[in-house]
């Protein structure tokens, strides 16, 4: 360990400002910090959706998450409490990190007592009407893009990401700024085929919770029409020891109240 540190140190001293950054390791740790903090976690969330005409909508929900393995498969439950229209609706995801296997998704509609399996869809469609995509919430697999280091400032590394399968996404490439200190992605700018920056995802406020740097406020903006969505997280905690059976059909109909308070 000491040897490695010394080696790194000497490298930095001998080559100031041009330190080789292991891009693979950087994006892998960014993915872990952004989506895999702790073994599991819970958070209350609130979104405000503002359309281009300034009309507002709100969504309030609680998220429970459990990692099968870091940077790997995950289980997720989203319990909606507001607005009235979606109250008690529950969304369940079994996320598969292998991009060859589609995520399994279910929706519980309380008025009909209906558990609806949802077909694997485009992950880059709106999450419950917001400017966030499903993929922004569950995390886009880093194996879907090729990354190159573009630039670095005193605070961030700036990488350019190009999709390996260009026709599966609406963007041509994106720039992601990763904080040197926390390894969290703090700004992502998406560009279309004409090189126009049309969409931005940004971390507005970061706090350290149980030692994990955590985005507590984020914003997605449609830079073309001016609409945006704010998302705020509260009552966040990690490593609760959430049992496997919380992430099941049972919890759709009978929510696990002790983890939702």
């Amino acid at each position: 360990m000491l040897r490695v540190t010394l080696f790194t140190f000497s490298l930095l001293v001998s080559l100031p400002g041009t330190a080789a950054v292991d891009v693979d390791e950087l994006i892998s740790s960014a993915e872990k910090v952004a989506y895999y903090s702790g073994e599991d976690g819970r958070s209350d969330a609130r979104m405000m959706i503002v359309d281009s005409q300034g009309r507002k909508q709100m969504r309030q929900f609680t998220i429970l998450r459990r990692d099968i393995e870091d940077n790997g498969d995950q289980q997720m439950m989203v319990f909606f409490s507001r607005p009235t229209d979606v109250k008690d609706t529950v969304f369940r995801v079994e996320k598969h990190a292998d991009i060859g296997i589609d995520d399994d998704r279910w929706l519980y509609l309380p008025a009909l007592d209906l558990v609806k399996r949802i077909s694997a869809g485009d992950k880059r469609t709106s999450f419950v009407g917001s400017h966030f995509f499903y993929e922004d919430v569950s995390g886009r697999a880093i194996s879907e893009d090729s990354f190159e280091l573009m630039n670095e400032t005193s605070e961030n590394y700036i990488l350019k990401a190009t999709p390996k399968s260009a026709d599966s996404v609406e963007f041509s490439y994106y720039h992601v700024s990763i904080s040197k200190q926390t390894k969290l992605p703090v700004n992502i700018d998406f560009f279309n085929q004409d090189g126009v920056n049309y969409r931005r995802v940004e971390a507005i406020k970061i706090e350290e919770i149980q030692g994990f740097p955590t985005v507590v406020r984020s914003k997605v903006s449609d830079l073309i029409n001016g609409g945006y969505t704010l998302m705020e997280f509260r009552n966040i905690s990690y490593d609760l020891g959430l049992p496997d059976d919380v992430f099941s059909e049972r919890s759709l109909r009978t929510p696990p109240r002790q983890w939702l308070k």
Partner: protein
């Protein structure tokens, strides 16, 4: 209960109720997002909505006076009490039905639901839901094989929200969760019938009369069963596939049988079935089978009681492009002892085919950031040469309200077939819903 209030008075009372319930609402700076402050403001005691809906027949029905098919002013009130490991929920609709000029109370849910941990070690494997509740299972879209919980076809035909396709029942549902699979047992102590088409809003074909009738009839005991219904489901997930096995012991859900005196009644029915849902290609593939054992007519010789049937459904759905999803279903009703049915039939010209086949197609298009949803669902029977097209557009750019408009169109060649008998029920409607 006969209406003694004018619809205007009724609406005014509802608005007053909603205003009182939401007086404390505020909105501040951008990140404040309303009342989500550190010391949480008390949530409203009640949630719910007011809905005003109206629909008219496209053409007139010779046996029903008037063009109205839907005239609702509806208040839904939901109240929920969270206990330590359980909850108590009441969801109730009070509405003025302008077609029948009646005020009605529809208790959608009045139930206690919880885990049975408190009753010992075994209890942690069981959940119980007791009381008035809506129940659903099975895999079909708008086609039900093993789901014998009550449906409300009057609402479905009139264009009320899909939530009202299912009618509530007073039931006990015990659910068990084990490594070897999950079990649901539903006991409905007193038979809960469908809200079937009886002539109140829409006329239906009578094979005795040879044309449509609208008697607005009700079936009462002893012809309405007062004994229990039992429904059982076992289900388990294998990888990404979900397998289920079902059983039902009860009665036909509509009064499709007749005594020799011509009295409609609900004859005995047992149903056994299975289903599977699995990801396939780029979407979801599903298949469901059910055997309907019509206990009062085992041999199929009684022309006044439905024969046994096998029902089979195969469906596929997938996202076709961004924000557009589509589904297809193929559905078969195969009547058993068909030769006996033909031999004993009193009205052979109106008998159903041995195999009734229905194909359904659905397209859902969400646009404008999912605030506008266009939904087209078509049933077409290749054996009956008839069909039912449902079109609906929902628009909700804010949380407080939703506007919907749509059309229910029945079509076909013969006046006695399953869908086309409702040709004069074809209607268009609009509704406005305000959430509080």
């Amino acid at each position: 209960m006969k209406n003694r209030l004018s619809s205007r008075t009724f609406l005014t009372m509802m608005l007053l109720f909603v205003t009182l319930n939401t007086l404390a609402q505020t909105s501040e700076d951008e990140w404040d997002m309303g009342d989500w402050s550190e010391e949480a403001v008390e949530s409203p005691i009640f949630t719910g909505f007011i809905d005003v809906s109206a629909g008219n027949r496209i053409s007139s029905d010779p046996v029903i006076d008037g063009a109205k098919t839907l005239r609702d002013i509806r208040l839904q009130v939901q109240w929920e009490k969270l206990l330590s490991h359980s909850s108590l929920t009441i969801t109730s609709d009070l509405y003025y039905d302008g077609v029948l000029d009646d005020v009605k109370l529809d208790v959608r849910e009045f139930a206690w639901q919880g885990r049975l941990d408190a009753f010992g070690e075994w209890g942690k494997y069981f959940d119980l839901k007791l009381g008035q509740q809506v129940l659903t299972w099975g895999t079909g879209d708008y086609l039900f094989l093993n789901d014998l919980f009550p449906k409300d076809y009057q609402s479905f035909f009139a264009g009320r929200n899909d939530d009202y396709l299912k009618a509530p029942s007073l039931s006990a549902k015990l659910s068990g969760f084990f490594d070897w699979g999950n079990i649901d047992l539903v006991v409905t102590p007193e038979f809960a019938a469908d809200n079937y088409i009886n002539g109140d809003y829409f006329s239906f074909f009578s094979s005795q009369v040879g044309s449509n009738i609208a008697p607005g009839f009700e079936v009462n005991p002893p012809y309405l069963p007062e004994s229990p219904e039992y429904a059982l489901r076992y289900y388990k997930t294998f990888g990404s596939s979900e397998l289920a096995i079902y059983a039902y012991d009860g009665f036909h859900k509509s009064p499709s049988s007749q005594t020799s005196e011509g009295q409609a009644y609900f004859s005995e029915l047992k149903v056994y079935g299975a289903s599977i849902v699995s990801p396939a290609f780029a979407g979801l593939l599903k298949a469901e089978f059910a055997y309907y054992a019509s206990r009062d007519d085992n041999q199929g010789t009684d022309p006044l009681t439905p024969n046994d049937q096998s029902r089979l459904l195969v469906g596929y759905e997938q996202e076709l492009m961004k924000d557009v999803s589509g589904s297809l279903q193929w559905y078969l009703e195969r009547t058993h002892d068909y030769s006996q049915l033909k031999l004993n039939s009193l009205t052979p010209e109106y008998d159903p085919n041995r195999s009734r086949i229905v194909l359904t197609q659905q397209l859902v298009y969400r646009l404008m950031q999912q605030t506008l949803t266009i939904n087209a669902f078509n049933f077409y029977s290749t054996s009956d040469k008839d069909g039912f097209l449902k079109l609906r557009v929902d628009y909700s750019p804010v949380d407080q309200w939703r506007l919907a408009t749509g059309m229910n169109l029945f079509y076909g060649d013969d006046n006695h077939t399953f869908y086309n008998q409702f040709e004069d029920a074809s209607n268009f409607y609009a509704s406005f819903k305000y959430f509080y």
